[in-house]
Subunit: 447 residues, 2 copies
């Protein structure tokens, strides 16, 4: 499938008929009670389609979820939208009834300013938890963003900057491919660096948990995707659910699932392709494949830019008795403090890995387990453990296998046919230093 | 109950009829391929009763469990023992058939050297995973330890030192109380600093997991308890199970459950109390209460001496719908990287706490949650959140509440009557630095 789409510039404004703008309106300053000491940082963006489009969303399954999530779940279910208003600096989470009122007011302001019908704007927020949204700033910001809307890559860059919190760089991607006889584009921006292990569903409700599998074990990550494809909202939702299951819901930085995790897609149909109306057939497959590529590319950018992250590790579990087992085994290893610190040290410590497998909810049999390393995407695996016993591979060679900034960890349980992957990160002193915060500066209290 | 027993010196040799000895026999050196650069450290101990006694044990529920655990489970089930041989420096875990042979040889050697019947020695090991036990050293060590057995506090101190790995200090306690008309003593030593979240059962088998509750989420901790009480083995096992459920199985340093976690108790009856033969009645209650006090005192010492630990936090969840919910909520908060780093910073970050509650498997309703702080054991709670909303308590006061080296965190879900406690620790740069290891020194690979 990969050959079917090519990378293009401009992320969310690459598709026909989208404009965006990102501005600084002082939410970060007011949200924290202090002036920014790093200069003005954009903190509000608008993303607007020229025409109403299909919309789909995936939302945190955290039971404590933010006001913008509560607002967006029913709006996404209606399937039609034309704009997104998003801010950083304040998560509008744990803000009670006033928080809901503020989220709705943000949507209303965006709709009025842009001249859209009521209910056509979606809302996203990220930043401090438990502080009321500085609505005066928001009002100023929405007006300002509406004045600078445009379709150049610079505009997209400003939007990608406006959603950043502890991110060190903006995250953007766009692809172009053929769909129903036309050239179609999908673009996306995202943010996220800490409080990252999303477990999103379409309604924010938890899936029924299989026994032994933590329900929605899973920071604020926000992702906004635009496309000019013509596609029914229900089909778009199906494509997004599948794409998120294989991307954002497979990443972890610190194992903490946020109150605000949100992915939204607006498809405005301006590519004029043959409308995708069903999950069967090649059009759906082509669209879903491209959407998943966009989501996975963005999801991996989040892990690489994770707070204090030095190494990115793809944990591949295979041979599990069930998918639930494969998933649980991969998450246990990906979130083990001892495994993550060993990755930081470049230490091929298979003892900690098999220990984590053994305490995971997955069925694991010690003398069946294989543990190996490879370069990303390579089939050449260096095995440290075979059937529960150390191989003859030298310690020096194993150290080399665990030394790159990115590598894959292969965990074969050899008990069945199921597999799962997690895109994970090491645990460093820098993560601790960053997150222990500074009690003199409540700005660090963000979620 | 607390008034019923008093602290005494000598830990495991405080009870009548026990002797111990700890020696250096070079297991640490051979196990790591390097000489110790910190001088000789004791690495093998014997604990011996003058007469055979009742024995009970609790063992890791990790599916990948060490050879000494596999050896001890059936021996504990038989209910009779007279000695323990324990080493540090090598965990004898993931060592295959040779590992089992070595564990059995350790028991055999101890029995022969001490002149005990076959099957009367228990075995414990902690240290590196995946390296065969240096049996020549073990042989020398058992002979040497047998020659230095004694009943002075200095002897107990040597045994407590011999089981240390990353511990910075030996951990010991003993109490004296009245039981069945006589003065009885219980003493214990333990070790553990990293890979700490034990979840032990009598057979090492996992309990049937309630849906949504991670089965045996839970480093090497080893604990050896002696008592001169006269008590039936089955009753002793019941008392130990209850005691461990309220102590070692309630602690977490890093959330990683070890392959070797073991608690063993030998009761030799030399106090000549009226034998405790049933779980009903005041004798059982008095004994269990004293045993639990010993276990809890030792368990808390493990958390306080946890790798890189600066702050110890008692997480108390109440008002949960079920015990499983209370337990899951407490573990989610106690193991959250973001919550633990905020504790390190002395940061009263309730946003991260309610976030962790929200993604835990427990049922949590945002606008019902109360979050507060108190001094250990104090009823004066400073509330930061009431019914999901920030209180008027000043940020400065909350910082003072979260500043002590030890404090209690009160989490009221206000949904039911169930409660659970976890004794937890902060996550510091020192933990990361220690555990990232040194790839030039495989000695740090230990589990």
């Amino acid at each position: 499938m990969k050959a079917r789409f090519k990378a293009v510039d401009g992320s969310i404004v690459a598709p026909t008929g989208f404009r965006t703008g990102g501005v600084f309106c002082d939410i970060k300053r007011l949200g924290t009670g202090k002036g920014s000491d790093k200069g003005q940082k954009r903190d509000l963006a608008l993303i607007v389609s020229d025409v109403p489009g299909s919309v789909a969303g995936m939302f945190t399954t955290n039971q404590v979820c933010a006001a913008p999530v509560k607002l967006c779940v029913p709006r996404a279910a209606k399937g039609i939208a034309q704009a997104v208003v998003v801010n950083s600096g304040n998560a509008n989470a744990c803000t009670g009834r006033r928080g809901m009122k503020d989220a709705l007011a943000m949507a209303d302001l965006a709709e009025e300013t842009l001249g859209l019908p009521a209910g056509y704007a979606m809302v996203g927020s990220t930043g401090r938890i438990g502080v009321h949204m500085p609505m005066d700033s928001v009002r100023v910001g929405i007006a300002a963003a509406a004045k600078v809307l445009g379709s150049s890559p610079r505009h997209a860059e400003h939007a990608a900057e406006a959603i950043m919190t502890s991110d060190t760089r903006p995250k953007q991607v766009a692809v172009e491919f053929k769909l129903g006889g036309k050239t179609v584009r999908i673009g996306g921006i995202c943010k996220g660096a800490g409080m990252i292990q999303p477990g999103m569903s379409a309604t924010g409700a938890r899936p029924a948990a299989a026994p032994g599998v933590p329900a929605g074990l899973h920071a604020t990550m926000l992702c906004f995707v635009t496309t000019d494809a013509a596609i029914d909202a229900t089909v778009l939702q199906a494509a997004l659910r599948e794409s998120v299951a294989h991307s954002f819901n497979r990443i972890t930085v610190d194992g903490d699932m946020s109150t605000n995790d949100t992915v939204l897609v607006i498809a405005n149909g301006l590519a004029a392709n043959r409308k995708v109306k069903t999950r069967r057939g090649p059009d759906f497959a082509a669209f879903q494949s491209a959407l998943q590529h966009v989501c996975l590319t963005l999801a991996k950018m989040i892990v690489r830019d994770g707070e204090g992250v030095h190494r990115v590790v793809t944990v591949r579990v295979s041979g599990a008795k069930s998918f639930a087992d494969a998933d649980a085994a991969a998450r246990a290893v990906a979130n083990s403090a001892l495994v993550k610190t060993s990755w930081h040290g470049g230490d091929p410590n298979w003892g900690r890995i098999i220990d984590a497998l053994g305490y995971s909810p997955a069925t694991v049999v010690e003398d069946k387990v294989d543990i190996g390393y490879s370069a990303p995407g390579s089939r050449k695996v260096v095995w440290s453990l075979r059937r529960g016993q150390p191989t003859r591979v030298s310690y020096a060679e194993l150290c080399r296998a665990a030394a790159p900034g990115e590598f894959e960890l292969h965990l074969r349980l050899n008990l069945g046919k199921h597999e799962a992957v997690m895109y994970a990160a090491d645990l460093t002193e820098h993560y601790v230093e960053f997150n222990k915060g500074n009690v003199a500066d409540p700005a660090t209290l963000g979620g």
